[in-house]
Symmetry: C2
Subunit: 132 residues, 2 copies
């Protein structure tokens, strides 16, 4: 419990890798997969996802790959995680409202507070902080 998914980790690894090479350079999936021992197909899907979200730019054809386009300073960790994995909350009721206990729950408010603190903390962290 309470773990980042592999998908998020792989995405971060890839972004950091690309950032180290500079933002003009095109890096292909295979290179990253081999460098970090990540299943190629899975990394491929993850990078495609990042591309769809406009964080990296695809270059097709031979010698293709991805180029880092987003300014990582401007992307915070909450947004990044949510764009890969959907709503991030300690409990169901933070977004969803079909928890059986919702009406009678006696711990909702304190947990909302904790969740807010974590989100707040993540909001203040840019991806650039993580990749430098």
């Amino acid at each position: 419990m309470f773990k980042l998914t592999r998908k998020v980790e792989y995405a971060l690894i890839a972004l950091r890798h690309m950032q180290n090479k500079g933002s003009e350079v095109v890096t292909n999936t295979k290179e990253i997969a081999e460098a970090y021992d990540i299943p190629v197909q899975l990394l491929a899907k993850t990078l495609q996802h990042l591309a769809r979200e406009g964080i990296i730019d695809p270059v097709q054809g031979p010698h293709g790959g991805y180029r880092l386009t987003a300014n990582l300073e401007d992307l915070n960790l909450t947004d990044f995680i949510e764009l890969l994995e959907g709503p991030m909350g300690l409990m169901d009721c933070y977004f969803d409202s079909n928890c059986e206990q919702l009406g009678v729950c006696n711990i909702r408010l304190p947990i909302v507070k904790i969740n807010d603190s974590i989100r707040n903390m993540f909001n203040k962290m840019s991806l650039a902080d993580l990749t430098k």
Copy 2:
């Protein structure tokens, strides 16, 4: 992802319920299960777990149940979660060291820092904070 487990939520609900009734009072599983619509058997196991950990005290036989014994001021959220669910970390390598990527990982340190911040935050919260 990133959710507290039901077990942890049920445990918190139960502790808060018991705390509201005062620490001398004996409360049985069924009462809590009914009040919050929690599956009895599951709550039972959870309370047994809390009892084993010395947080509540079992009273057997008819009119039995549990009595709150631990001082919730002295129990922090990290310890509480870990005693119910085991090691809590954003990534495998925080405790375990058989991640495939461990040797080459380029994001480990930043993630360790984030994880430390969260643990630190949880360390500073007592269960009493959550149940009052």
